[in-house]
């Protein structure tokens, strides 16, 4: 029993699901703690796995400080920002389930941005740049684009996620980008109308039956993005 406890203090057992040529391969990994009380983040575990056991392990990361939004993975089936998510005994780390896996924990991301290509800020707003934006505007631009919001999104699930170059149906992130234009004091009325039309085209009506989405860093997506867009879209429909 005593031996076991010392073991516990030195190591942390996790499963890293690697992926190659369309197949998942779980790898058991014993993370060696640098001191007894260390609570490693998922990124620490992946870095050590690359250093010791799986030298060509593929995963994305950037700033290590929850700012760049690129290191999102699934931990026990839920999207987590790897650089700031503490790992516990027997956790399973794998690629996000909501986007197509390329290799190991790397997912393809650019089908999301491509659905807005040419559809935002299409003309210059023409308004004076020297106006203050509201707090709501700034809340939306705190989004770090981690894509945790794709999880359980009924709108995003309508896409053929693995095969499309540019997703037809939207997601909370794309809606946030469009609502940002609606909230922007510099936007012209036509830009705002445009943004709302785009939101409807991305399948906004699906959101009517949805209890709401969850943001990786705590933006009120339902209250500040989806509901206002639905309200504006309805208003325009009634006119």
């Amino acid at each position: 029993m005593t031996v076991r406890r010392t073991e516990d203090k030195k190591y942390l057992n996790v499963t890293i699901v690697t992926h190659s040529e369309g197949k998942d391969m779980p790898v058991d990994f014993k993370y060696q703690k640098r001191h007894e009380r260390e609570k490693p983040m998922a990124l620490d575990v992946l870095l050590q796995a690359q250093e010791t056991k799986i030298p060509d392990l593929a995963f994305r990361y950037g700033c290590r400080a929850r700012n760049c939004g690129v290191c999102t993975i699934d931990i026990n089936g839920l999207p987590r920002i790897a650089c700031r998510s503490v790992v516990r005994e027997n956790d399973e780390l794998r690629a996000m389930s909501t986007l197509p896996v390329i290799t190991d924990l790397v997912v393809r991301r650019d089908q999301i941005s491509r659905q807005l290509r040419g559809k935002i800020y299409r003309s210059s707003g023409g308004n004076d740049l020297n106006v203050d934006a509201s707090d709501d505007y700034h809340e939306l631009t705190s989004c770090i684009e981690c894509y945790a919001c794709l999880h359980n999104c009924p709108l995003h699930e309508k896409n053929r996620v693995d095969s499309e170059e540019r997703y037809e149906y939207g997601n909370p992130f794309s809606l946030l980008k469009l609502q940002t234009i609606v909230m922007d004091p510099v936007s012209s009325n036509s830009q705002k109308n445009d943004a709302i039309t785009q939101a409807v085209n991305l399948g906004l009506d699906t959101c009517l039956d949805c209890p709401g989405c969850k943001c990786g860093i705590g933006i009120d997506l339902k209250g500040k993005v989806v509901d206002p867009l639905i309200k504006e879209a309805k208003k325009r429909e009634n006119n």
Partner: protein, 651 residues
């Protein structure tokens, strides 16, 4: 398995999607050029996105802020190493370039009085005017604007997950090289792209990952910009000049290297101590980043470093002062919210409350040297800095370029640099491509030869792994090419590099063509080694301490000695290094600058040694003054009015 080669043709290729890459792509497209932007990280995920989000906007604080004043601040801070034409271009364009970013959704706070973007209440260290504009959500706000600028325009083609392997040039006339394109590894699609183009804009950032994990920047900074340009034959300037942030965290591992504080946030009574608690630097808030880093590393060098190879930042005197202590804490928390957040998570409660000492160590932050260009971002070369001695069609912007900051970079300038020179590069690359004809008849063999090399790497057998060799390079760079250097160490680094380059053929690379991590690691490792070699050569040539370059075995280089930049380029199997004389600031100005600086240090020392009751009242008044005019909670500096003007404290 063989990898498919796909041919593409564009007017302009942009490498990188951060502040400079996005501005370059947008501007080149507006000029009518067909643009392909490639980025190895997701769109806009860059140092710009993770920065503190403070940008230099000339005249935002007062109408009398002239272009000359801003340009001169950069010159003095940079130890007269910056190119005057480039600092002038920065000063000239800063407002216009910033407004272009605003057109894509960047929304600063607008002053009720001037109806313009509201700068921080005091000038940042080294600036003589208020002109540093902070933003809600820091760099992430810039990240959105830059993302928008690429995505909004269907004329800009972009590809994520693409690693530029090499630039391809052709010798047109004697001794002139022209760009004909580039070979790119598209990891997402598992293809090689042969992009034929007359202009390439290198905007792929810095090299701080050479020091990982002792860095606070993006992982992707593997020196790609410098290595790729140098292999194509370009000259690089001031490659010994890298900026270290002095007060970064040493543990736990997840936080190692991240920012804890800046010299200014050490406030009036902050001092640095060695492991025996002896003061090694006072007046910290007046010092530059380079001076603080040097003090820490010199203590470590003498065996007086802390457990993790750093020093102690002691701010307890600020906190203890009965009346002014509470102001200090709110100042510290409000000045650099994200840095303080790191401290709160990584340190004990007593430490984060400044009741105990912080263990700090420098981290690599920003490369001031880079590709040698003129004020239009065109590659130049030779003693006179001429375009015909550079590479025709090669442009660089942002951290990739050199010549703007010299030996030291002032706070808040790099975001503006990305916008100003991204836009200049975009414009001039578009014009260059317009004037070039005959791209259709070019020699495809040049591309195919390079592609063959990649094919021979895929499936390479060996017992080594690039990801592990990278770790040894990072250790080597920190120890021997880091914040403290000497001749022996630099020679060691050069030897290490040549030995390691010989190991490349023994690296194992798998057979897959799609996202082959081993291949990616190999390309990045090659770039790290080439970059480190160029840096070590420049660092040996600069045989004295100046700015970001600290030589333990040589004296400081005097402000009054004749300034020069180092120029390095690959030559045969080695590196060629020369000195380029720079224009010196008038002696009158230099002397004034030195005297003011000495006066400030003296004032700070007197204040620190005053009895508590006396200094507490003085400090309370000072804090109140700052807090009163502090309307926003973003970075402000207690000593800024009088803060370190430059980098040379030595006469």
């Amino acid at each position: 398995m063989r990898i498919n080669l796909v041919w593409e043709q564009y007017d302009v290729l942009v490498v990188g999607s951060g502040g400079s890459g996005s501005n370059a792509a947008e501007t080149a497209s507006e000029m009518g050029a067909s643009v392909l932007l490639v980025t190895k990280d997701p769109l806009s995920a860059s140092d710009t996105k993770i920065s503190e989000g403070i940008a230099t906007v000339r005249a935002s604080g007062s109408a009398d802020d002239s272009e000359d004043a801003l340009s001169e601040n950069l010159q003095l801070a940079g130890g007269d190493l910056p190119d005057v034409n480039i600092t002038s271009a920065f000063a000239k364009d800063s407002q216009r370039a910033y407004d272009k970013v605003r057109a894509n959704g960047l929304r600063p706070k607008i002053s009720g009085i001037t109806k313009n973007p509201d700068p921080l209440p005091l000038p940042m260290g080294g600036h003589t005017k208020r002109r540093s504009v902070g933003h809600k959500n820091s760099g992430v706000a810039f990240g959105h604007a830059n993302w928008n600028s690429i995505v909004k325009d269907t004329k800009i083609d972009y590809k994520e997950d693409c690693w530029l392997i090499d630039i391809i040039t052709e010798n047109k006339k004697e001794n002139t090289k022209s760009i004909v394109g580039a070979l790119i590894y598209d990891a997402q699609k598992g293809k090689l792209l042969a992009v034929m183009c007359a202009s390439i804009i290198v905007a792929s950032g810095g090299l701080s990952t050479l020091y990982f994990p002792k860095t606070d920047t993006m992982r992707g900074n593997t020196g790609d910009s410098y290595a790729i340009a140098a292999r194509a034959g370009a000259e690089l300037v001031d490659m010994e000049q890298i900026q270290f942030l002095p007060f970064c965290l040493t543990s736990p591992p997840a936080f190692e290297g991240l920012l804890g504080g800046e010299p200014v946030t050490a406030s009036y009574l902050g001092v640095l101590r060695d492991k025996n608690k002896k003061v090694i630097l006072d007046g910290v808030y007046l010092r530059t980043r380079a001076e603080c880093s040097a003090a820490i590393m010199k203590a470590v060098e003498d065996g007086r470093g802390t457990k993790n190879g750093g020093a102690y930042l002691d701010m307890t005197a600020n906190k203890k002062a009965p009346k002014s202590g509470k102001y200090f804490m709110s100042f510290l928390k409000g000045s650099l919210p994200s840095a303080y957040n790191n401290v709160r998570q990584a340190m004990s409660k007593k430490e984060s409350q400044c009741e105990d000492l912080w263990e700090v160590r420098p981290s690599a932050h920003y490369m001031m040297g880079g590709i040698r260009v003129d004020e239009n971002c065109c590659s130049i070369g030779g003693p006179k800095g001429l375009k015909q001695h550079g590479i025709s069609g090669l442009f660089a912007a942002g951290q990739a370029m050199g010549g703007l900051f010299g030996a030291n970079r002032l706070g808040s300038t790099s975001l503006t640099e990305g916008a100003v020179f991204g836009q200049r590069a975009g414009k001039n690359a578009a014009i260059h491509s317009r004037n070039i004809s005959g791209m259709n008849s070019l020699n495809k063999r040049l591309f195919i030869e390079k592609a063959e090399r990649v094919n021979s790497l895929i499936g390479q057998k060996g017992h080594l792994h690039a990801s592990r060799i990278k770790l040894t390079v990072q250790k080597e760079c920190w120890e021997n090419l880091g914040p403290i250097r000497d001749e022996e160490r630099l020679n060691k680094t050069k030897l290490f590099i040549s030995k390691t380059k010989k190991k490349l053929k023994n690296i194992s690379i798998s057979n897959s063509v799609k996202w082959n991590q081993g291949l990616i690691e190999y390309f990045e490792l090659e770039n790290m080694l080439d970059t480190a070699e160029l840096m070590a050569t420049a660092a040996l040539e600069r045989d004295g301490s100046l700015g970001g370059h600290v030589r333990a075995d040589r004296p400081n280089i005097s402000l009054f000695s004749k300034p020069y930049s180092t120029i390095v380029k690959f030559f045969g199997a080695g590196v060629n290094v020369t000195r380029l004389p720079r224009k010196q600031t008038e002696f009158k100005k230099l002397i004034k600058f030195k005297l003011e600086e000495q006066k400030k240090f003296l004032g700070a020392r007197i204040l620190r040694l005053m009895p508590m009751s006396l200094k507490d009242s003085v400090l309370e008044r000072r804090y109140k003054k700052i807090m009163n005019i502090q309307k926003s909670s973003i970075a402000v500096s207690p000593g800024s009015n009088e803060a370190a003007v430059g980098d040379q404290k030595i006469l």
